[in-house]
Subunit: 474 residues, 2 copies
């Protein structure tokens, strides 16, 4: 392994962590740095550094980094910006390999901050310490017990996300979690004064724990070779990039946020074949869900099953606009559907519609899924479950959805064709609560879940484009 890969391996797998500026006010159910490591079961040594505390949450505290009797791999600097160069010198003396500078107040604030950051980088380089940040939320690596937010899933997956923004990192993990995404390594790297997007691209491309890569960038350094690393990465793994700061106003915001916005190379990125560029956080999650869970279909013909025929028209429009076909069903499938769903207002075309509201859905899906799985005229089955139009009608939403969940548990694993779902809850507490079990079942079945017609169309089309580009290797 190359030196750089080694240092990043150490970053993501430290055996000991010092928290410089650990708060003596931390509580076990709070979101302090020590509580986070404890709640995530970090297996290595934890060294809280606080000159005024004897311990933090029962873990022995040290007055300074140099007072720690054993080696420290990774130091989290939770100290004011002005103190960081000095603390980095201590890190160097202690032979800490990597320091994560959490705080802000550096190049993103203007000239003075930029000078401080230069000083910090100079000290780190001289002292042989690699830097994450400054102005970075840091790491979420559930497998080793590192996290920047203790409310994220403790289980690991195979998606890696390098994000210049901490709030984007948290949001993508949280939103993805509800739809079954789990992450191998997430790094929020802020100002990227030392380790930067190119290092993460290079490392994650060869990381066996990471099979799908995502980036949120507020700028790409043209001298850094990021483009080349992404070109390499995308050959083996699906890669999606959310671009931040593509407009003058967005770029000003990026400069103020992470001193990003430099040498935008968006147009070069757009020329990389197979790379997915997205423009919103929601689209990034949709894309990752499709990459992760969509089984490769035989072709691009979609059958839509769901109550609400007018809604189905717009689902069909959105899919066809995105390059899919919503074909007419063959005579045999139509005839079979007609026998099942002959109620007033039920459509037995494509989209096909359950013959009534929630209470009849379980039976409808139980009968129709095998028929459409066998129909040669469609390649992918999309269940469109729009729930809020049924809320408050005196129905047992949770009970009926539980029946639907049971049907899917039985049917979906036996299906030959890929299945995707629109689960549209519409900010309605009753339906969100009522659909909780159904959502968990869909996650367990590894079915890709989307929240709207637009979301499913863009998510599936990103995954599909990769299938097409890779031919039989996808």
């Amino acid at each position: 392994m190359k030196a750089k890969a080694l240092i990043l391996d150490a970053l993501f797998h430290p055996e000991s962590v010092a928290i410089i500026g650990a708060s003596s006010q931390e509580t076990h159910d709070g979101d302090g740095w020590v509580a986070r490591l404890l709640s995530f079961g970090f297996k290595g040594a934890i060294y809280p550094i606080n000159p005024k505390a004897k311990d933090v949450l029962g873990i022995k505290a040290y007055p300074s980094l140099l007072a720690v009797p054993k080696p420290v791999d990774y130091a989290i600097l939770n100290v004011p910006a002005q103190s960081t160069p000095e603390v980095i010198q201590e890190c160097s003396e202690k032979r800490v390999k990597l320091a994560h500078v959490y705080g802000a107040g550096f190049s993103e604030t203007g000239e003075e901050g930029a000078a401080l950051q230069e000083e910090l980088v100079r000290q780190a380089k001289e002292g042989g310490v690699r830097l994450l940040g400054p102005n970075a939320l840091g790491l979420y690596c559930p497998a080793v017990g590192l996290t920047f937010d203790r409310n994220l899933p403790k289980s690991a997956g195979d998606i890696a996300f390098a994000s210049q923004s901490g709030s984007c990192a948290m949001r993508v993990v949280r939103q993805g979690a509800l739809r079954g995404l789990r992450f191998s390594k997430v790094v929020s790297y802020g100002n990227a004064a030392d380790l930067n997007e190119k290092d993460f691209a290079e490392y994650l491309a060869q990381d066996k724990e990471s099979q799908i890569l995502a980036f949120y960038l507020e700028g790409v350094r043209d001298e850094g070779g990021f483009i080349e690393e992404i070109e390499k990465a995308v050959r083996d793994k699906p890669v999606a990039i959310l671009e931040g700061g593509i407009t003058p106003g967005g770029r000003r915001a990026a400069i103020a946020h992470t001193a990003g916005g430099f040498s935008p190379m968006w147009s070069e990125l757009r020329q990389i074949p197979g790379l997915v560029i997205v423009q919103s956080l929601e689209e990034l999650v949709d894309c990752l869900v499709a990459f992760r869970f969509l089984k490769k279909p035989f072709g691009n013909r979609v059958v839509i099953l769901g109550r609400g025929a007018g809604l189905g028209v717009k689902v069909a429009d959105a899919l066809e606009e995105a390059g899919f076909i919503v074909p007419r069903l063959g005579a045999s499938a139509r005839e079979q559907l007609r026998r099942i769903a002959s109620g007033a207002g039920a459509m037995v075309e494509n989209p096909a519609e359950p013959p009534g509201p929630l209470p009849v859905w379980a039976t409808f899906y139980d009968s129709t899924l095998p028929i459409l799985d066998d129909a040669i005229e469609v390649d992918l089955v999309l269940m469109s479950l729009t729930l809020d139009i049924h809320a408050g009608q005196g129905m047992d939403t949770q009970g009926h959805l539980s029946e639907v969940a049971a049907v899917l548990m039985d049917r979906v694993p036996r299906m030959k064709k890929p299945v995707a779902v629109i689960l549209d809850l519409g900010d309605n507490i009753e339906t969100i609560r009522g659909a909780w079990e159904l959502r968990e079942v869909l996650v367990e079945l590894k079915v890709p879940i989307f929240s709207s017609a637009d979301a499913v169309a863009r998510g599936l089309s990103h995954a599909f484009r990769r299938f097409v580009q890779r031919g039989q290797n996808a």
Copy 2:
């Protein structure tokens, strides 16, 4: 008033309603036709027609329409498709002005159904009965106590929606209600065998109760003069149209749904100046929210206030892509913000960021709103409240948001500049519940609410385009 306007006025304001095929199984808390009228306080006479029932929910039932001793303005036909021509003959004998044919099974099902529909129309025409439908959910006019869904708001507003689809109608009203939209008249008109989009456009354009018009169309009859009516309507009122069936697959779905999909005139619609064409139900609601609640700003420069600086970058990008400017703040505003929000990681540029999570938001918004209201470099204040990244961190979400709500109650009514809000809850039950009061306060303050960067950008840009087109008359 012209004859056609008179008939539509009668449709939306009947003095007596007969429900032919009223179920004797109806319950007071159910969603049957009689229960709906009762729960909405319909003031006119209700005549349930059911040969086997003495009464429905305590209201005297009649064995047939002809047995009703008084005049009937409006008949809802809740009977099988095959029986409708015969029942229409009875309507004619009874001199019912308008009949709403709820059931499906007509031209949308193929040749046989089309023949039945022709027979129905012929009988109606001969008998002097105007038809709504068939295959139509019917009317929601809360002011007179008519509704197709008893869970919709009972209060009326000034938005009219003519929707070929019932599920779209329900969904737009429900989703809009959460964001403060209230409706004057909503009609789901299905197959449009008689009364059609042109009639509704003509009527709603001159309807004093309706100030904003929306349509969901699955086709436009070119012989009908709809284009001309919309051209007229858009001169006086904002008009948004959701197009259904713009792709071959969507059109097939529209044909199966309402026998729509005929002579698509989408390209002619696109040439009407000032008309807003939208492509998703979500976008339609975003557009209506902006039309209804966005105060006219002096210009297009937006300041963004919100926690999550990376999220702010994408809000800035989305706004600038949509034609807005997210300018740098002037020195005075920057200096004032710096005094308020000097915490680590808080941005005092545009976007400006609270110096910490939820607990400090109330103070932040209380101090910054007046500063930005006075800043000459911005025209519109956008609060970007992304809540799910704070969920589960041991904070009193509801309590802190309640403080924010109190600040807004105090500040917003005194502001000179328009305010808009992104309230992004991310399918998280805790934040949705915690934000309930805040949302109600925003609704009360008539602040336009959106759920994402993309949503606010597209919503505001639709409203803004109308401001620009109308100059000082908007």
